[in-house]
């Protein structure tokens, strides 16, 4: 449209407006068409995202058990959460899990991408091996790792070979959450390595060659070429890794049922339990709103930090 030749787009539509279907000008017909293309998706989001979000906020001020009609309680649900030590625990567990998974992922994924970007024999196969965990289904991961962490399982079997005694990984308060964090990293790091790898491959080779010619070492090239040019990829990886870790649910449910003593009861699990096991829908909605606030906070802080880094 904006090709700098005003006469062309003006004269052509005029020929078409002669008929004027529905009494619309050509430009307005195009606007309408564009809007109609977006409409089905917009309608879906309104029904399954925005309306539920509004309803969750509203519901968080009511007491509701799915059977009797909702009863207004004001800030009652939030007060109940505030006074519920299990909620405080879940909030803490979620923050620990999310940061515990995401931060190692940032470094491991970048390191892995740098390794896989080198020329080496059988690179295609090696990449495939690293990327297979991405294809793995959540529930299969949960069952396989529960088996690996079994007191008589592979992890303890391997540790026994180096003389470390048996640890009951998923039943000890000290080890249950770190055990789940390890799975999250094992699964997430390769995923984000793929993203970094694409970012690395988008950097023109000439930059490195020119820098090498000027005598820049390996570290200098990484610091002054790779890192700055990877900024957009980094932002994407940071936000997505946090959001992904924040919504973990299958592993705590299948592997530990939130135990031992709630040390793996993350917020999504707390919400599920409050809503669908105890039927306290209002309280679950209040907890959802808080989880959403947390997601928003993480995202905004990172945008801020990286924007400042770019400037």
């Amino acid at each position: 449209m904006s090709n700098g030749l005003p006469s062309v787009p003006v004269s052509l539509p005029q020929a078409r407006t002669a008929a004027r279907p529905f009494g619309l000008t050509y430009a307005n017909r195009l606007r309408l068409a564009g809007f109609l293309f977006v409409l089905p998706a917009l309608f879906h989001f309104a029904l399954f995202k925005f309306y539920p979000m509004a309803q969750a906020l509203l519901l968080s001020f009511f007491r509701y058990d799915l059977m009797s009609s909702p009863e207004f309680t004001g800030l009652g649900n939030y007060r109940a959460l505030y006074e519920n030590p299990l909620f405080h625990q879940a909030l803490g567990v979620s923050v620990k899990y999310t940061l515990g998974v995401a931060i190692p992922e940032w470094f491991l994924a970048l390191g892995l991408a740098l390794l896989l970007n080198r020329a080496m024999p059988g690179r295609g196969l090696i990449r495939l091996a690293y990327f297979l965990p991405i294809a793995m289904s959540q529930i299969v991961v949960a069952l396989v790792w529960k088996f690996l962490y079994h007191p008589h399982g592979l992890v303890n079997g391997l540790l026994a070979a180096v003389g470390i005694g048996r640890i009951n990984w998923l039943s000890e308060e000290m080890t249950a959450l770190p055990a789940l964090i390890a799975i999250g990293v094992w699964r997430g790091a390769p995923l984000f390595a793929v993203v970094y790898l694409a970012g690395l491959q988008a950097i023109p080779r000439d930059y490195y060659e020119a820098a090498a010619m000027d005598g820049a070492g390996l570290w200098q090239r990484f610091r002054w070429i790779t890192l700055p040019l990877l900024r957009p990829t980094m932002l994407f990886v940071m936000v997505m890794s946090l959001l992904m870790a924040m919504k973990v649910f299958t592993n705590p449910l299948v592997m530990t049922e939130g135990g031992p003593n709630g040390t793996t009861r993350v917020l999504p699990y707390f919400i599920y339990e409050t809503g669908f096991a105890f039927f306290r829908m209002g309280e679950a909605a209040a907890a959802s709103s808080i989880l959403f606030g947390l997601a928003l906070l993480f995202t905004l802080v990172q945008f801020r930090l990286l924007r400042r880094g770019l400037a």
């Binding site: 052509l12 195009l30 606007r31 309408l32 564009g34 977006v38 089905p40 998706a41 917009l42 879906h44 989001f45 029904l47 399954f48 925005f50 309306y51 979000m53 309803q55 969750a56 519901l59 892995l112 390794l115 080198r118 080496m120 090696i126 091996a129 990327f131 297979l132 294809a135 793995m136 289904s137 959540q138 529930i139 299969v140 396989v144 088996f147 690996l148 079994h150 592979l154 079997g157 391997l158 390769p190 993203v195 694409a198 970012g199 988008a202 990829t233 932002l235 990886v237 959001l243 919504k247 649910f249 999504p268 919400i271 829908m281 909605a285 959802s288 989880l291 959403f292 997601a295 928003l296």
Partner: protein, 277 residues
């Protein structure tokens, strides 16, 4: 040792480390498959038995016979295919509208849609459940499929791709008298095959795998999905790890096939969204 040989030795060491890392990443799968062919006693035996002494094929029929896994498999496939179709169609449709048209509030529409990336089902679990209940879709295929059938990620991915399609392509079709929907269907869609393939693979993977949503809205045995079936197996026969690993290995097959067949589309999908701002 001169600098060049030192560099080559270092290169080989790093390569070996990379391979060792890959082996470490794959170890859980290897152990799963190896254990699925063992007896119940052998899976926990020390010293570790890396290969089963005499492979017990009967673990597979025994495991799959415990629950109607055929039905679960079918349900997961139907759900994943239907959600994928919805994502491809509505996602590309909306993406085309957002990428190539100007209308009031377009930017706002896009931002509002994108912001739903922060509203996964895990957060909207309770209210989405209530909406689906109001629509009378609990315990139905519709309830499984419809809430997931449009996704912001798909719109974002497709929009990135369609924005780069030349405008001249679309205008030429318009001059030839093609209808607006005809342009989308006959010009835009065929030209985004790579992006569509990438979205298809990612969407199928994610939705074959759905666990929390079916867990909340499905109670009928005939509508359960494969992940629900596996979780149920774990709940009822938690000691039979050899059979559980057999069932899990079967559940892994569609994912592995998909990944091996469409590895490039997979990787492209992950990168299409990450490369550009």
């Amino acid at each position: 040792m001169n600098a060049r040989t030192r560099g080559r030795v270092l290169g080989w060491v790093v390569t070996l480390l990379t391979v060792a890392g890959a082996a470490f990443v794959l170890l859980p799968y290897f152990w799963m498959i190896s254990s699925s062919f063992k007896t119940q006693d052998a899976i926990f035996r020390l010293p570790l038995e890396w290969m089963p002494r005499a492979p017990r094929w009967q673990n597979y029929p025994a495991a799959l016979g415990r629950f109607p896994f055929g039905t679960y498999f079918f349900n997961s496939t139907v759900m994943a295919l239907a959600v994928m179709a919805g994502n491809l169609f509505f996602g590309s449709l909306a993406a085309y509208g957002l990428a190539k048209f100007r209308f009031p509030l377009r930017e706002l529409c896009f931002r509002a849609m994108l912001s739903t990336l922060m509203l996964p089902l895990e957060i909207l679990l309770v209210p989405t459940f209530l909406v689906v209940r109001q629509l009378g879709l609990l315990d139905s295929y519709g309830g499984l499929i419809i809430p997931l059938a449009v996704d912001a990620f798909g719109i974002f991915l497709m929009r990135q791709y369609i924005t780069d399609l030349p405008d001249s392509l679309i205008e030429a079709a318009r001059l030839d008298g093609c209808t607006e929907f005809g342009i989308y269907w006959r010009i835009v869609l065929p030209n985004c095959r790579p992006a569509l393939a990438a979205l298809a693979v990612l969407s199928f993977r994610e939705n074959w795998d759905q666990f929390l949503w079916p867990l909340v809205i499905i109670s009928k045995e005939a509508l359960k999905t494969f992940p629900l079936g596996l979780a149920q197996f774990e709940g009822f026969h938690s000691a039979s790890y050899h059979e559980m690993m057999a069932a899990a290995a079967v559940g892994m097959i569609p994912m592995i096939l998909l990944f091996l067949l469409f590895q490039r589309a997979f990787v492209r999908g992950l990168t299409l969204t990450g490369l550009k701002e």
